[in-house]
């Protein structure tokens, strides 16, 4: 295994985070703080507890998940799209790196950034509300699995994208709405039956639910189902990436 190659790629991507600190970390944190101010303090103070959890604290896992999904996708998609755009991807393709090593470097760095961001949001949330974590290990597992899965998803988008607008198309027009409608700010059990049933077709429901379970011991669906759906999505992304490298789709002619 080309460990030095993976490390070089990983470090190179992480360096970009420090160089673009404002864009990579500070902006999402400010956005999240605004969510807390609006939904947690302004509106949340007038809301009832949900399942015995204060509304401000209830939305913390959902907000973390929202940032985790969008940032994982945008970090990984940009990381692979930018070399394609500038032409420097030739170096990755001609280097003695296997597809799995390239994915480790890119996805590893994108997931690391998202996890860091998630933890920063958690720390920020603690300044506003009292957050408790009942199952810290499960929380870390969900955090890491989701970050890796959606970084792989972002990697696929970055390879598929033909232009910068396509990079933001899926996070903005698909993932963000699905997260908002996936119980980030409410429990789907609060919805009428029809809408609850429809919501169950939204995969993000299972991610938010499982993540919230690790915080408060309760979720909209069972923890097993949440883990299962996350694992299926992870394996689907992995399969797509294997196919991309086997066929050279939009990477090699």
């Amino acid at each position: 295994m080309n460990v030095r190659g993976v490390w070089a790629l990983y470090s190179f991507e992480m360096q970009r985070t420090w160089r673009t600190l404002w864009q990579s970390i500070v902006t999402p944190v400010i956005t999240t703080v605004l969510y807390f101010v609006v939904f947690g303090s302004a509106i949340g103070s007038r809301m009832e507890d949900i399942g015995g959890v204060d509304y401000g604290a209830f939305i913390v896992p959902g907000l973390m998940m929202l940032s985790l999904l969008t940032q994982s996708i945008s970090n990984a998609s940009f990381a692979i799209y930018f070399p394609k755009f500038t032409g420097t991807v030739y170096e990755m393709l001609s280097a003695p790196m296997s597809p799995s090593e390239l994915v480790m470097g890119y996805v590893g760095a994108a997931a690391t950034k998202s996890i860091m961001l998630g933890l920063i949001i958690l720390a920020t949330a603690n300044l506003f509300v009292d957050v408790r974590i009942e199952y810290p290990l499960a929380m870390i597992v969900f955090l890491v699995l989701t970050a890796i899965t959606f970084s792989m998803f972002g990697f696929i988008i970055g390879i598929w994208a033909d232009g910068f607008e396509q990079l933001s198309f899926i996070p903005m027009l698909i993932v963000t709405p699905l997260t908002f409608l996936g119980g980030a700010f409410y429990s789907i059990n609060m919805l009428p039956d029809l809408w609850r049933t429809i919501s169950l077709f939204n995969p993000v429901v299972y991610l938010v639910s499982g993540f919230r379970w690790s915080f408060y011991g309760e979720g909209d669906v069972s923890i097993g189902l949440s883990l299962g759906i996350t694992a299926i999505f992870l394996l689907t992304c992995l399969g797509a990436i294997i196919w991309i490298f086997r066929t050279g789709y939009r990477l090699k002619e």
Binding site: T86, G87, Y90, P96, K252, E253
Partner: protein, 316 residues
């Protein structure tokens, strides 16, 4: 001698149906400078890209240093450095960071001393902390060479290395390439500057329509295909070449003020003495004479514009 690069029956047909490479066979000797010449779209870059792993070939085999480029791609690629035609750099990175990154990507441990020497050799040391976006085009090209050499490759592909580079820098690059060859690096370059190939290459290959049509020692190809010309500046202009000079197939130039005789320099008899004698007998005087030999460029132009042989003849 075992070739350091061995390409056999290599073909590439792009999705749109364009046949970029057609059953290419080519062997590159260790330590040589090989120039691949060909017009735009001939398949030069596709050939290089296939060996380097950027393009997936449709059929055929390739080996670098004895390692199959597809099966043992890691071992093969470790031996290869590539400077692509387009200037593609990490605009926001510093020279130092991007060159070290390339070295790491190829699995080499950090070696600040080697990178320092490399940047000094390429006159980039003073710019090591500059962002690539701040550099001139020529410097960016040198950064790309530094990146390609950062992992100490045995084989270096230079795809149009001096395109858009000023004369002084071009000369510097030629010196650099010669220096690399002295250190044992095998260099394969594509170029539009025939003068470059003539000046540096041990052997040249000409590719046309995806087929290698000639591979020859540079000196030998010049000798084999090179023509010489004798230009006689006449004392009195003439309207047409006299019939008695027909056997020399002379051409009139400069509105009848010059007679041009093209001959094969390798022929035992050039025909010049008899031509001059006959002209003297006819009372045709000349004020000056000049001889010139065809450059590799003339040979190249002749080759790429030659009509391909009919298929049945080729097959035969």
């Amino acid at each position: 001698m075992q070739p350091i690069i061995s390409i056999s029956n290599l073909s590439k047909i792009y999705d749109g149906g364009v046949k970029a490479l057609d059953s290419v066979d080519l062997e590159i000797r260790p330590g040589e400078i090989f120039a691949l010449l060909g017009p735009n779209g001939a398949g030069k870059t596709t050939l290089i890209s296939a060996v380097c792993g950027i393009v997936t070939p449709t059929s055929g085999t390739m080996a670098a240093g004895g390692y199959d480029v597809i099966r043992d791609y890691k071992k093969a690629r470790k031996m290869i450095g590539l400077v692509p035609q387009e200037i593609s750099t990490d605009t926001f990175e510093t020279v130092w960071a991007t060159v070290n990154f390339s070295r790491g990507l190829f699995g080499k441990p950090r070696d600040a001393t080697y990178i320092e020497q490399l940047l000094k050799d390429l006159s980039l040391w003073d710019k090591r902390d500059a962002k690539i976006m701040e550099l001139s085009g020529g410097m960016k090209r040198r950064v790309m060479i530094a990146k390609a050499l950062s992992h100490e490759p045995d084989i270096l592909f230079l795809d149009e290395p001096t395109a858009g580079v000023d004369v002084e820098l071009r000369r510097n690059m030629w010196n650099l390439v010669r220096g690399l060859r002295e250190r044992g690096v095998t260099i394969i370059l594509t170029t539009h500057y025939i003068e470059e190939a003539e000046e540096m290459a041990d052997r040249v290959g000409v590719i046309r329509g995806g087929e290698i049509i000639v591979v020859e020692e540079t000196v030998a190809i010049m000798r084999k295909l090179g023509k010489r010309q004798l230009t006689l500046t006449l004392t009195d202009a003439m309207d047409a070449v006299p019939d008695s000079l027909a056997e020399w197939e002379l051409e009139l130039a400069d509105e009848g003020h010059q007679l041009v005789y093209t001959f094969d320099a390798n022929d035992e008899s050039t025909g010049i003495p008899s031509l001059l004698r006959t002209m003297s007998d006819l009372g045709i005087g000349f004020a000056d004479l000049d001889t010139s030999k065809s450059s590799l460029e003339d040979i190249f132009v002749g080759l790429v514009h030659e009509e391909p042989a009919p298929e049945e003849e080729t097959a035969a």
